[in-house]
């Protein structure tokens, strides 16, 4: 149903000299980055590096204080083909299925097709048996998976994920990573913040190391870990603490 909106694509997303300030602190400091079709991009770096802010800006939820951002060449693009899973997703006070119905309706999916989509999405994220469970009564891992399904309901071409596995145990993390891999295999561009290096290695693609609002290094997963070019990347890849 997205094709009805025409062939306009949001990709590539290009950020040029984007600066975001909070008070007198630069959260993003003249940051330049291109997000294009391809394997998952993993944003890594310590807390406060600006990963979440970068995701929000690329999603179009924050306006930079200075700099430029374009989606498929357009400076102004509503989030029709972009979706995001926040670090702490807000669950609507409805059942799991109703959360997905809501997202499908917001995405403009015709009424008659929503039911089948809901079943499909719940199945994809492994929540098929929990469709009538109130979303806010679900466990943290289940909520993350429901939030992922809700984001996928928009049939995005690019999906932003903000540390979706941060508070999950290994089994739940694996379940979520499997879904993310399946999503990427369908051709959806995944951009994911994490501070788990192992996770970055498992899912990348491309690694973007951020530190203090800057991008320190960008590289393929293979070269980033084996042949880092910068001192920060070397230390980060070796598991040292970047402060």
């Amino acid at each position: 149903m997205m094709r009805m909106r025409g062939p306009a694509t949001d990709l590539p997303i290009i950020l040029e000299d984007v600066t975001i300030v909070a008070g007198d602190m630069a959260i993003l400091d003249r940051l330049t980055l291109t997000l294009a079709t391809g394997a998952p991009t993993m944003l890594v770096g310590p807390n406060g590096a600006g990963k979440s802010t970068l995701l929000r800006v690329a999603m179009g939820l924050m306006t930079p204080a200075s700099g430029r951002i374009t989606w498929g060449g357009r400076a102004n693009s509503p989030p029709l083909r972009r979706a995001i899973v926040f670090q702490r997703p807000a669950m609507l006070r409805r059942s799991a299925a109703a959360n997905l119905l809501y997202a499908l309706s917001a995405a403009g999916v015709p009424h008659a097709k929503r039911g089948a989509h809901v079943a499909e999405l719940l199945d994809l994220v492994g929540l098929a048996g929990l469709s009538e469970r109130p979303a806010r009564r679900m466990s943290g891992g289940e909520q993350q998976r429901l939030a992922l399904a809700r984001a996928l309901a928009r049939e995005p071409e690019i999906l932003f994920l903000d540390e979706p596995t941060a508070s999950l145990d290994p089994a739940a993390t694996k379940a979520l990573e499997d879904v993310i891999r399946a999503v990427a295999a369908r051709g959806i561009k995944v951009v994911m913040a994490t501070h788990d290096l192992g996770e970055a290695r498992r899912l990348a693609g491309e690694i973007v190391l951020m530190h203090r609002g800057h991008i320190v290094e960008i590289g393929g997963a293979d070269t980033f870990f084996t042949a880092p070019r910068t001192d920060e990347a070397r230390r980060f890849a070796a598991g040292e603490l970047l402060i």
Binding site: M59, L61, P78, I84, P89, A90, Y102, A106, P134, A151
Partner: protein
Amino acid sequence: MSTDASALQLVLSGDPALIAIVRLSLIVSLSAVLFAAIIGVPLGALIALTRFRGRDGVIVLLNALMGLPPVVVGLTIYLLLSRSGPLGAWGLLFTPQAMVIAQAVLVTPIIAALARQTVEDLWVEYQDELAAMNVGPLGRVATLIWDGRFSLLTALLAGFGRAAAEVGAVIIVGGNIDGFTRTMTTAIALETSKGDLPLAIGLGMVLIAIVVVINALAWTARRAGERYAG
């Protein structure tokens, strides 16, 4: 003891005068809450979702108006509706309609203030998700009101409790006319001063029963909300 007994008898035997009074009270207060909800819920949502100069002042005023003295509301509506008042031509003074207006004025701030709080709390939580789902302004309001429905229902019941229990406003604009504008509270006031205690006590029992039922409903709504919405 004998007055208590005859009061109970009045209630249980379904005394027609008593039933007429209870019926009018319910109609007036329920209508008032209906109108107050139609105005108060959107008003509360509007204040919750907009930012304007003096907003804090409006919120403080709205919260203060929750404690509006019924007699002052009664007096104000009386002045507006009296023959020489600006709305005197409507001829509404000393009618049940006037009582509905007065109680609606009394209850609207309660519903608006509680609705604002409910909608604003939800908005803080939902803001990013709704923006990410590209939900427009009307869709946002509808979502927040629907997801806040259990809290909003509690607000309506609080408004109804206030309306049903007040005497100051309805006695001034209604005039406590027998068989026409006499409600439970005005009847209790009158019958007590006349010394007809059985009717006063009987009405008092009914009124308390209604208040208990309202609170039970409010409690049930909250529990249902917690169970269903988490």
